[in-house]
Structure formats: structure tokens, C-alpha cells
Assembly symmetry: C2
Homo-oligomer: 247 residues x 2
């Protein structure tokens, strides 16, 4: 680009590529991607032998990768039975949204109030996530809207400026993606909330954090309800033929 400074910046951004990582971490990366993309569905068993064979790693290393993923709650480990892709229950969804209310709400209320321009960088990230989502919606890219929505909520939590909160937040959103597999189409899920995000961003920029919290909590309530409704309807569909009384 410009010159010498462009060099170093480029190098820094490429630094992660030479951050060595154990093969267990790489294996975990591969499996995580497949789970998140829905190529391995919740409830599926991850057999040690077949996966170790397919990836050409030893069972011991694969087991270390499993530990990493179970720590992220993407898989569950049952003693002597193996590991399975996590199946979210209604209780999980309720719990996750309860935590989101706590983290995002607190971030907005305690740290979103600083209206002075000195702490604007965090707020500007919120705004850019909103515009990103609007742009994606305008070109009909509902997958992009979903990604932007995640950015939005992560930027809300990031107002607290805490590495731990950021990490937990990413983990919660990753978990939720397991639940999104029950959604028939992502559009129905994300479309209603574009306006909410915009309103929250505006309120934060105006320093009216109390009102922003109110909108956020209302948003979380509706999103949670929608997910739970989808869960209930799916459960109904499944137990219909599992009912043994009709033989």
C-alpha cells in the first residue's frame, strides 16, 4: 500500500499463520468447522477409531482434540460411551439467554453509559455491525445478516472491555448455532431484529443506555421465545410417530 508501515501491519495480521499449534488443536479446528456448518448433526456420535483413521492421527491426539471441543460445549463426553455432538435442550436455550441477558445487559448498562468521545471506539464497532447487517439484508444475503447480528451482539458485550466476557460471549453464540439448525429458514429469525439493532445503536450513541438496555432485553425475550417455539413444534413432530398407543 503506502510503504514501510504497510509492510509491518501486513506482517502482524499474518502473524497468526505461523503461530504453531498442536495437532490436537488443528484436529479440533476441523471438527469444529464441520459441526458449526451442520455437516455433523447434533446427537451424532464421533467414533474414535473411524475419525482417527480418517484424519491420520492417533487416538490419543484425537482424544485431546475432543477435550478441547467439550470444553467449548460443542460436544459432550459420556464415560465409556464416547463423545457426541451436543444436542441443545430447551433448558439449555433458556440458560444461554439468561446468561446473555446478564452479560449484554450489564455491558450496556455499566459500560455503555460513557458518552464521552474518549470511549467511542467500542460504540463505533456497534454501529458498524449494524450497517453491515443492513447492507447484507439489502442484497438478500440472510446468511450475512446472521453473521452481522452475531458481530453486533459481540460488540455489545465488548463494551465491557473484558477478555473473559468476550470469550464467554463467543462461546454462547457458538452454542446457539447448534440450536439454529432447528430453524427452517434463517431469514424469519433475523429479519425482525434489524430494526432493534439500529435502535439500540442509536440509543447507545446518545448515551441513553438505560433505554438501550430495555430494548435489548425485549429483543432477547422475543428471540428466545421464537427459538423455544421452534423447539416445541419440532418435538411435537417427532413424538407423533413415537407414540406407541396407536398400534
Amino acid at each position: 500500500m503506502a510503504g514501510a508501515t504497510g509492510w509491518t501491519a501486513e506482517l502482524i495480521s499474518a502473524r497468526h499463520s505461523l503461530e504453531r499449534s498442536s495437532t490436537a488443536a488443528k484436529v479440533a479446528d476441523i471438527l469444529r468447522d464441520m459441526v458449526m456448518e451442520g455437516r455433523i448433526l447434533p446427537g451424532a456420535k464421533l467414533a474414535e477409531d473411524s475419525i482417527a483413521d480418517a484424519l491420520q492421527v492417533s487416538r490419543n491426539t484425537l482424544r485431546e482434540a475432543f477435550r478441547l471441543l467439550s470444553h467449548e460445549r460443542l460436544v459432550v463426553h459420556e464415560l465409556n460411551r464416547g463423545v457426541f455432538v451436543r444436542v441443545l435442550t430447551e433448558a439449555d436455550v433458556i440458560d444461554i439467554y439468561r446468561m446473555r441477558r446478564a452479560l449484554e445487559g450489564a455491558a450496556l448498562q455499566f459500560w455503555g453509559a460513557s458518552a464521552d468521545p474518549g470511549r467511542a471506539p467500542g460504540v463505533s464497532h456497534v454501529r458498524s455491525a449494524v450497517t453491515l447487517g443492513v447492507a447484507a439484508a439489502e442484497r438478500g444475503d440472510w446468511d450475512g445478516v446472521g453473521t452481522a447480528n452475531m458481530h453486533f451482539h459481540r460488540s455489545i458485550a465488548a463494551l465491557a472491555d473484558s477478555a473473559r466476557i468476550d470469550e464467554i460471549m463467543s462461546q454462547l453464540l457458538a452454542e446457539l448455532r447448534l440450536a439454529f439448525h432447528v430453524m427452517p429458514t434463517v431469514r424469519d429469525f433475523y429479519e425482525p431484529y434489524l430494526g432493534d439493532n439500529e435502535r439500540i445503536a442509536t440509543l447507545v450513541e446518545a448515551g441513553r443506555s438505560q433505554e438501550a438496555v430495555a430494548v435489548l432485553l425485549d429483543y432477547l425475550n422475543r428471540a428466545e421465545d421464537q427459538l423455544l417455539r421452534e423447539f416445541a413444534s419440532k418435538a411435537g413432530r417427532h413424538s407423533a410417530q413415537a407414540d406407541p398407543a396407536s398400534t
Copy 2:
């Protein structure tokens, strides 16, 4: 139907007693206790060979135990260098207290408001933690006061009634115990806060959650400051001659 369901319910409550655990988990338990009691100090290296030899387990299972502990942030794993007992930095303390403000504050504000007796159980736990602390203080058991204080804050977070929040909270308090090793005596740390806990409990019982949040946040500020001061004085003692600018 009434009789049969009573049976199974009782069985479910006793189910945990036959929950077997892997040897890796047992090894992690042993090491966790030693770290928490200060028998292994922060910064110490946990060599695989010697520990595996002492505990009579294979290196592989020991490494699985290490994963568990590093997930709890009690040890850190450096690639090709080994695992070390976590050394908390000032930045860590700041971050942990930021998270505590978010979780405990949100729990108190969003879920502590329910003054109806129907949701009293959670509030009663807060109260009993307070009386436990007072009793310990009266008999001079300052270790007991510390334990009661942890119970108190865990019961505050438990108002949210979320398994995830409970887990994170326990983890944060466990991490903080690593920092407490810098405190000369625990009494100086806990004594000033007995009154705060009592006041918070009373406010919660009265349904005045907004005021309770204020007291709690003030408490967290002071506790954080005290810890950071202790950190600074210790660092000063260590690097006194490393700073050539001041005379």
C-alpha cells in the same frame, strides 16, 4: 402412578452417587487441591515425568488432567515448554472484577427484584451465607469468613438461576484464590466487608435491588483496589532497583 413416580424421583436424586469418574479427573482433583491450598505456588512448573511417576499414572492420562485444569485457568500450557501454575497479573485481576460486576450486578438487578415469597429460596441462601460469615468472624475463624464470603457471592450470582452463570462464578472465585496468595493476612481482606454483605442481604430481602446493586458495585471496587494495591507493593518490592528513573 403416584407411588411409582415418587420412587423414581428418589432414585434420580441419588444418581450422582454412582457417577464414576475417570482417573484423569481424579488426578486433576488432586492437583487442583494442591494449587488452591498454595502447596504448589503460582509460576511453578508441573513436569510430566515426575508427577506421572509420583501419582503412578501414565503421561497420557496426566496430560488429560492438565487439559482439565487449564480449562479452569488454574494452569497455563505453553507449547513444547510444559504447564505452569497460573500467575495472575494485574490485568487478570481487573478483568476478573469486571466480569464479577457484570454477573453479580446483573443477577442482583434483573433477578433479585422478585420480592414475592415464591422466589424466596434464592434470597434465603444469601442470608444464610451472611450469618455463616458473622458466626465465623465472632469465633475468630478468618479462614471460615473467607469461605462464607465466597458462598455469599456465589449465592448472589445464583439468583439468576442459571447453571452456566453458577459455573463461571465458581471459576472466577477459584481464580481469585490464586491472587489471594499475595495477601499478607486474610483478615485484613475480609473484615471490612462483613457489614457490606449484611446490608446487601437486607436490601435484597426488602426488594430494594437497585440500592443493593449500588452497594455491591462499591464493594467490588474497594476489594479490587485493595488487591491491586497489594500487587503493586509486591511488585515494587521486587523491582525497586529495576527503576532507575526515580531517586
